[in-house]
Amino acid sequence: NAGVTQTPKFRILKIGQSMTLQCTQDMNHNYMYWYRQDPGMGLKLIYYSVGAGITDKGEVPNGYNVSRSTTEDFPLRLELAAPSQTSVYFCASSYSMGQMGTGELFFGEGSRLTVL
């Protein structure tokens, strides 16, 4: 059971370049999330999705875009990379919060991005 898989694990970008961080989950979760974590800081929500075709902004969406064409995949797009986007990016997924469930998030291993 792979869980949540993120690629790439590491990437160095030049200012102004674009790239896509890939995220795939095999647990049939309807909720998916992208967070960024700066050194010594907590997780900041970038975008999230409650199902295929539905996405919404989180706390820090500027400079990013997402799409959710399937239940399994939730890619994060950086269009014009800036040094401020240097961070570790985590993708996560969960079931919706049911009466008996915990709604716990399952996280990927992270993607470390450096913009120079």
């Binding site: 949540v4 999330y33 967070y35 409650v50 989180g58 919060m97 996280f107 990927g108 291993e109």
Partner: protein, 111 residues
């Protein structure tokens, strides 16, 4: 604005003692709070959930409380061990399904 805050100062305790971490929230009333553990270089791992109608929840050496009057959740690790050293994060689910995290508290348990 809605905020969830944890003590940003690291907590250093001796092995065998009880570690107590705090999560405070303002300007909203979450239906539940979740607690996660994060090890360096890894993604967070879910530990325990407490709902607003549960004053206290236990799971092995973990105990979580939820005080809606004080707008606070306390997370306790009893009989702490060096292996408990990690960063602990609380989180709440806002409207529309988003899950917002506090900044985390680093716990260090010394032998």
């Amino acid at each position: 604005s809605q905020k969830i805050e944890q003590n940003s100062e690291a907590l250093n305790i001796q092995e065998g003692k009880t570690a107590t971490l705090t999560c405070n929230y303002t300007n909203y009333s979450p239906a539940y709070l979740q607690w996660y553990r994060q090890d360096p270089g890894r993604g967070p791992v879910f530990l325990i959930l407490i709902r607003e109608n549960e004053k206290e929840k236990r799971k092995e050496r973990l105990k979580v409380t939820f005080d809606t009057t004080l707008k606070q959740s306390l997370f306790h690790i009893t009989a702490s061990q060096p292996a408990d050293s990690a960063t602990y994060l609380c989180a709440w689910r806002g409207t529309g399904g988003k899950l917002i995290f506090g900044q985390g508290t680093e716990l260090s348990v010394k032998p």
